[in-house]
């Protein structure tokens, strides 16, 4: 119905939606501890807060959210529930501190710091002993949920009706920025991948600011969602990276060349031994990757019984010399149909690898 109205023509050209930035901060204490020589936590936090302020300064309607991806849980640092917010807001020692500061900035700064400190206060040593990873999947899930709630209009009136029925009335441009300091996420492969695909569907770019550590999954996250991936060579200058690479919002990025690093490793790692494979076997149900067909033809991830009879001897030891005598030895393996082989390495397109 909107398209019939002639005004649609005009409203299209004014596409200035406010933007929402959800920042996921990896708060693994070990990782920050190892980083303390190059990038102390307070400095990193200050850089991030300045970056958030910069984002807020662009438009009065811009919004921000900060999520901590901690060792055992993920939680919001800003905006928080009222109790902690009150504690953070009124608990500021000097209400007249920086009286000239833009109020919005100060609220964010105070709340993020207060809830971060609260989070660390609640963390016990016992908890830290046996968990050294970070709950990135949970944090991504929170971020996507928050974005979904905020971005889809539900203004109660006609707009809400259309939004509920048609589904997609987008009021804000959203993006996720992950400041990652710790390493592998392989244990959360399935949930992380699901989050990535959800973000891709919703057209939410996931930017990765990789301060330390190595994660293939996060590279793929930024690549599939068309976000920016940046592995910091000089973590000391975090603010410089944040301000130069991650400040433009999704609407602006269409007109810019993104500084994303292009040599993304697309090769898959098998689930069984975490080896990077050129040719692998994929479960037809849950898409888990294996370097050899799993034992007993049962997928280790989803427990599906796989029919591998049609695979024959595929992937077995290659027969390069025809020797009639060895025949009997080869017959012992009987393998797979629902396995498809991905011969990705053999069909590289002819683009120059520059």
């Amino acid at each position: 119905m909107d398209t019939v109205d002639a005004s649609a023509h005009y409203s299209q050209s004014i596409d200035e939606k406010p933007s929402l930035l959800v920042l996921i901060l990896d708060t693994n204490p070990y990782a920050w501890s190892t980083l303390s020589a190059t990038l102390p936590l307070d400095r990193a936090l200050a850089s991030i807060l300045i970056f958030l302020n910069a984002h807020m300064a662009f438009s009065h309607a811009n919004r921000v959210a900060v999520i901590a991806s901690h060792t055992k849980s993920a939680r919001f640092l800003y905006p928080t529930t009222t109790t902690t917010a009150a504690a953070g807001g009124s608990g500021g020692e000097d209400p007249f501190r920086d009286a000239n500061k833009y109020r919005q900035f100060r609220i964010i700064e105070d709340q993020v710091q207060a809830s971060f400190a609260e989070l660390m206060r609640q963390t016990t040593t016992e908890e830290l002993v046996d968990s050294k990873e970070t709950m990135m999947a949970g944090a991504l899930g929170l971020a996507l949920g928050y974005i979904n709630r905020l971005v889809r209009v539900d203004d109660g009136g006609i707009g809400g009706g259309i939004g509920g029925g048609g589904g997609e009335v987008i009021s804000m441009n959203a993006r996720i920025l992950v400041v990652s300091v710790s390493g592998d996420l392989a244990e959360q492969y399935v949930p992380v991948m699901n989050s990535i695909f959800a973000a891709q569907r919703k057209k939410i770019p996931i930017d990765i600011c990789k301060v330390a550590g190595e994660t293939v999954f996060l590279q793929q996250a930024s690549d599939t969602t068309r976000g920016i991936y940046m592995q910091l060579e000089h973590p000391e200058s975090l603010l410089q990276y944040l301000m130069m690479s991650f400040i433009p919002d999704t609407a602006t990025r269409r007109h810019l060349v993104p500084p994303t690093q292009i040599n993304v490793d697309f090769r898959a790692a098998c689930f069984c031994h975490k080896n990077v494979v050129d040719i692998g076997f994929v479960c037809s149900i849950c898409l888990s990757i294996f370097c050899t067909p799993p034992e007993g033809a049962i997928c280790t991830t989803c427990n599906t019984k796989l029919d591998i009879s049609a695979l024959g001897n595929f992937g077995g030891s290659p027969a390069v010399v025809s020797t009639k005598k060895k025949r009997t030895k080869k017959l012992k393996q009987s393998k797979a149909t629902s396995f498809s082989n991905e011969a990705s390495a053999t069909s590289t397109p002819g683009t120059p690898a520059s």
Binding site: S36, P40, D42, G92, H234, H273, G315, G316
Partner: protein, 615 residues
């Protein structure tokens, strides 16, 4: 010599006579005694004939020669009076002969499954198809049939230039056999076969005929098929033609027709007072048999849900209510274009035999339409039939930790949780950060300045890299990287063929099938050759580059001599060369090396294995 059918026909533009005997077709040149061509019926795989509407009467016989290749023989029937009849007799006789042969020989190969050959001369074939395929419907899209259908493969190669070059490179002059080549391309064959099966339907013929005025004379080209279509779609024209043509020369009839008001009316154009009048043809203007004479498709049973017959009786126009807004008597010759087009469309639809309805299902139609009209969203949600996917906790099977895992563990292992936590709590527990002072914590001064500029360099480098990619993918930059066209072509060709070899190599290599060991050896040789070819292309590229550079230099010098202006350095710079070739083919070379390496390793292993077995 029991001849079943005979006719005078030319073969390869020589006159002669075609004779069908009991088990072979022979053709004898006009001035010779003995037949010069003999095709045994047993070898005939397919038969094609031109449809009845085409002037040229031809029969095409496909026969397998020794070695499996099919060869078409085309006979044109030359008899002035009875060519069509002779051809029909010949066709009929041949068809029965082939059929009897096939039923007799039980070993019918799948490739010769042309089946009972019935003539598919539907009205649709008259419009577009030049030759009605005699073979019955080939709706068998199975892999084996597609891969053995040489005819289909040929036509696909003809249609796809790129595939054709790959084919000739990889198969005709390479180690890949045709079977292997097609075995990885069944989907292409299937798509092509389906595409070929589709027939073009009837179209508005009159609209496509456009008289051209050359030297004040109206000229047009009119094919026999077009005339046939016109008669089919407009029975009125056929009537006019039948009435007048003996009296009027045919050519004159058509030229007058296309200028007449009748033509305009049938086409749906508006008649103007300035239009030519024609004493003969205008007589037919008033007739509206056009509408009534069309062949209606018979519909046996109309589902009650969509039967609007009853509405006819309530039609307001028939009861005298304002049929026309202008309230003026309509002038017959100015039929609105919409009406004409509607009637034409109806006719076209009627000409097509319905293929989407199954006559056996007529009874269920009512039920179907009622089902279609149900409001699905008013019903409750259907029960979900999902398979529950149980994902196991993955930690347990990742416990077989890899190196990276180990490294991470080690990295954190010498950190004590208590100290780590205290450190962080201390940092955060203090009063709120002053952003500016916090920023300068840690290193300060010159060193941090250097770090900042290094960071900037990293970002700018990433942007530069990215820009290169964006430019090359959007086509703003030359794709060929400055290579001359012929070199670039050979680069794409060698890339395509090498990929082909690689694909077959991996298929054979990983199959674990000993029977394919011979194939692997052949393919490895091809891969080695590919590497050599890449090297030679690189060399040619260098040579071409030198030539181009010399030419430009010479040009620049001449320019300098002529004008006295020193040429800019840029004009003598030439892109391309072996470096670009190597860059373009780098992934290919890597892939080939990897394949060869794996092969060598497997070979070494096999050798060792056989030695230990022997020893």
């Amino acid at each position: 010599m029991a001849s079943v059918a005979k006719g005078s026909a030319s073969y390869k533009k020589k006159d002669g006579s075609l004779l069908l005997e009991k088990d072979s077709v022979t053709w004898t040149p006009a001035n010779a005694e003995a037949p010069s061509l003999k095709i045994p019926v047993s070898t005939i795989t397919n038969l094609q004939a031109t449809p009845a509407t085409v002037a040229k009467v031809m029969i095409k016989v496909f026969a397998t020669k020794e070695g499996g290749a099919t060869e078409p023989y085309v006979f044109t029937f030359t008899s002035a009076s009875s060519a069509r009849m002779e051809a029909d007799v010949m066709k009929e006789a041949l068809t029965t002969a082939i059929q009897t042969f096939k039923t007799n020989s039980s070993a019918a190969t799948p490739s010769a499954s042309a089946g009972p050959t019935t003539i598919a001369t539907s009205s649709a074939a008259a419009s577009g198809a030049t030759a009605a395929k005699l073979a019955g419907k080939l709706t068998d899209w199975s892999k084996t049939r597609l891969e053995t259908d040489l005819e289909l493969q040929k036509s696909l190669l003809k249609a796809d230039q790129e595939l054709s070059t790959t084919f000739s490179e990889a198969v005709l002059s390479g180690a890949v056999t045709a079977d292997q080549f097609w075995s990885t391309r069944t989907h292409l064959l299937r798509a092509h076969a389906i595409e070929r099966e589709q027939k073009r339907g009837p179209y508005n013929v009159l609209a496509t005929i456009k008289p051209k005025t050359v030297d004040n004379v109206v000229r047009m080209s009119l094919s026999r098929e077009a005339i046939h279509d016109i008669f089919d779609q407009h029975p009125l024209v056929k009537m006019v033609y039948d009435d007048n043509v003996p009296k009027l020369p045919e050519e004159e009839f058509w030229s007058r027709f296309f200028l007449s008001r009748l033509f305009k009316k049938l086409k749906g154009d508006k008649l103007l007072p300035t239009d030519n009048t024609d004493p003969i043809l205008d007589r037919y203007l008033g007739r509206d048999d056009e509408e009534n004479s069309r062949k209606r498709r018979k519909i046996e049973h109309v589902p009650r849900t969509m039967d609007i017959e009853g509405n006819e009786q309530n039609l307001s126009q028939k009861k005298g209510n304002a049929p026309d807004l202008t309230m003026r008597p309509t002038r017959a010759e100015n039929v609105p274009i919409i009406k004409t087009l509607n009637s034409l469309s109806l006719k076209l639809v009627d000409l097509v035999a319905p293929t989407d309805t199954d006559p056996n299902q007529v009874d269920d139609q009512d039920e179907r339409y009622i089902n279609e009209q149900r409001l699905v969203d008013l019903h409750g949600d259907p029960e979900e039939e999902r398979i529950i996917l149980n994902i196991r906790d993955q930690r347990q099977f990742f416990s077989a930790s890899s190196n990276a895992d180990q490294a991470r563990k080690e990295l954190y292992s010498n950190l004590k949780p208590e100290t780590v936590l205290q450190e962080i709590q201390k940092t955060l527990g203090e009063s709120n950060l002053n952003l500016l002072t916090a920023l300068s914590s840690g290193k300060t001064g010159k060193e941090s300045k250097a770090q900042l500029s290094k960071a900037t360099t990293q970002i700018v480098a990433a942007v530069k890299d990215r820009r290169e990619q964006v430019l090359s993918s959007s086509g703003l930059k030359h794709k060929s990287g400055g290579l001359p066209a012929n070199v670039f072509n050979s680069v794409t060709l060698v890339h395509a063929t090498t990929n082909e070899f690689l694909r077959h190599f991996w298929l054979a290599f990983l199959s674990g099938d000993e029977k394919r060991a011979g194939d692997i050896t052949k393919l490895v040789n091809s891969l080695k050759n590919s590497k050599e070819r890449i090297a030679s292309i690189a060399k040619t590229a260098d040579e071409e580059r030198e030539l181009e550079r010399a030419r430009r230099k010479k040009e620049a010098q001449e320019e300098y001599k002529r004008t006295g202006v020193k040429p800019k350095r840029k004009t003598t710079e030439v892109g391309g060369g072996s470096k670009v070739v190597e860059e373009l083919l780098a992934p290919t070379i890597v892939a080939v090396d990897k394949a060869l390496g794996k092969y060598q390793a497997a070979l070494g292993k096999a050798d060792k294995g056989s030695k230990t077995a022997a020893g």
